[in-house]
């Protein structure tokens, strides 16, 4: 068995991607994820695999488009502004049903913002920042270990569903170090043959990778097939963690780095006799609506905690569907909610006699 090493989240993710069978990486530098690109620049050629520093994020996502079409495992990574530039490309990948992994190590926005951590691209990731009715699977690690571990399902899910899988981290997760145990390559799922890939049509009929259909009923049918696929994913691929929900009166919902703040808050709250519990979505899409709805049957109220001004908040409200008030607390622009501030919020909300009013 191999030993734990102290490594940054970005590097853990990059090494895990290579172990998960990444065959080509295309990317453009941007802070706070340069360690990924730089790691790939070093390691991919060592492995005899493809590394290209693209001229832009637009080029990167379209190189991914080409690489994915050959049936190879491909990925790109960037941070918020660069991911915005990829939105057309992600919509194209989705329309053409090409498997690909896109990593977004989010930073403060909007605009150029800064290079501090953020979770302000949740909407973009889960709702499709690009045009058209498509979805990407969104995985949200919360530890450096998970930055590595989630890369294996990321590539598997991409191949299984011919879909874009986005890994949504933030500046802290990318830059922080924790002890990590790195897995060997392993495929957890039975994956379909890539008979749609462009490998030359010798011995078979022409393969076409495309997203256009000028005939409305045909494009509608394609869309319906996509929707059907999305339903299947919603049915089967939700990942979620929860704790102390049996008797929780207040349920805190948070993902990624915010979920770690929330864990500490909950254990401190419990020490102060507040019946708190937490839910951490690992897949942001498909969203663990059912798990949250189940918690809503018992809990008195919900508190969503984000490094943003309330984006996942929407999904929590939809899932809770009025069964309990849903509150929100969060900070953005690179700021991180502190344990103390969130704990105060919990106490305020749980004040005996206080009527919880929704924000």
């Amino acid at each position: 068995m191999s030993e734990k090493i102290l490594i940054t989240g970005n590097e853990a993710l990059a090494e895990a991607a290579i172990r998960a069978g990444l065959e080509a990486y295309f990317g453009y530098p941007i802070t706070p994820q340069n360690e990924i690109t730089e790691y790939m620049a070093r390691r991919m050629p060592e492995e005899g695999r493809v590394f290209v520093q693209s001229e832009s994020e637009l080029a990167a996502i379209n190189m991914v488009f080409g690489g994915a079409a050959t049936g190879k495992r491909v990925m790109t990574s960037s941070s918020s502004p660069g991911i915005s530039l990829m939105q057309e490309g992600i919509s194209y990948l989705s329309g053409a049903e090409l498997p690909a992994v896109v990593v977004n190590i989010m930073r403060g926005g909007p605009g150029l913002g800064n290079i501090a951590p953020s979770q302000s691209d949740y909407f973009q990731a889960t709702r499709g920042g690009g045009h058209g009715d498509y979805r990407t699977i969104v995985l949200a690690p919360s530890t450096v270990q998970e930055m590595a571990d989630l890369m294996f399902p990321a590539f598997d899910l991409a191949d299984l569903y011919r879909i874009v899988v986005m890994v949504l981290g933030d500046g802290v997760l990318g830059q922080m170090m924790e002890p990590v145990l790195l897995e060997k390559k392993q495929t957890h799922r039975k994956l379909p043959a890539k008979d749609w890939a462009l490998t030359g049509c010798a011995g078979r009929s022409q393969n076409i990778v495309k997203s256009l259909d000028l005939v409305v009923p045909r494009l509608e049918k394609r869309n319906l097939m996509l929707q059907e696929k999305y339903r299947r994913i919603e049915e089967n691929e939700v990942m979620c963690e929860g704790h102390l929900l049996e008797d929780a009166e207040i349920v805190l919902v948070a993902y990624g780095i915010a979920s770690r703040v929330v864990r500490t808050v909950v254990s401190r709250a419990r020490k102060e006799q507040i019946k708190a519990g937490w839910i951490r979505p690992v897949t942001l899409w498909p969203f663990p609506s059912r798990q949250i709805a189940a918690a809503a049957e018992r809990a008195r109220l919900f508190l969503t905690v984000e490094l943003s001004y309330g984006q996942m908040f929407d999904d929590v409200r939809i899932a809770v569907a009025g069964k309990a008030p849903v509150h929100f607390t969060g900070r953005a622009g690179g700021a991180i909610p502190t344990v103390e501030a969130v704990l105060d919020e919990v106490k305020k909300l749980m004040q005996p006699g206080k009527v919880a009013v929704e924000r």
Binding site: K4, I115, I257, V261, T338, E340
Partner: protein, 179 residues
């Protein structure tokens, strides 16, 4: 590790070239090798280049939830600007290790323990001006006893870039110096 609830949150701070980032990595690596749970977070100042740098390390024998340090148990601080910024954040009854070679004022808090060390001067005496950071860390290790200077020194090869391995010895000596 047998003690219960052993947890230490440290902020290392100084300006760009002072090697505080290295200190954090070193401490985190050594603690990991000693079997602790650890987290390390770098944080660069507002300026793109130069300016101040700091990092936070948490060492715990339980899994670490939030890796963010807002109120450190210990601050190891190498210059005045960082001193001004971080001293107010130290937990009551916390520890301050300060580089008196570059910090002129004493802290205006009486609820913390203060250890001054003329790190730059001592490093100069050791003929290794760039080891001031190790001097400061040595002082801290002597005080807190979570890890021995020897344990920490053994992790030096893992965090020091290969091209600086000629500095392993002098850094080890600096660590052992203890102020």
């Amino acid at each position: 590790m047998t003690e219960k609830n052993c947890r230490e949150e440290i902020i290392f701070a100084g300006f760009g070239g002072q090697g505080v980032i290295l200190l954090g990595k070193l401490m985190a690596t050594a603690a990991m090798k000693a079997g602790y749970e650890v987290t390390y977070i770098p944080s660069y100042g507002a300026e793109v280049r130069g300016g101040t740098a700091n990092c936070s390390v948490i060492i715990d024998n339980e899994p670490i939830a939030s890796p963010l340090v807002t109120e450190p148990d210990t601050l190891i601080v190498m210059n005045q600007a960082s001193f001004d910024k971080f001293v107010p954040k130290i937990k009551p009854r916390g520890l301050l290790v300060m580089n008196t070679s570059l910090i002129e004022t004493p802290p205006d808090r009486d609820d913390i323990e203060v250890m001054g060390v003329a790190a730059d001067e001592i490093a100069h005496q050791l003929k290794s001006p760039r080891s001031a950071n190790m001097i400061a860390l040595g002082v801290y290790l002597k005080k807190r006893g979570l890890l021995t200077p020897q344990q920490v020194a053994e992790s030096l090869p893992y965090v020091l870039a290969k091209r600086h391995h000629d500095m392993l010895d002098v850094n080890t000596r600096a660590l052992m110096h203890g102020g």
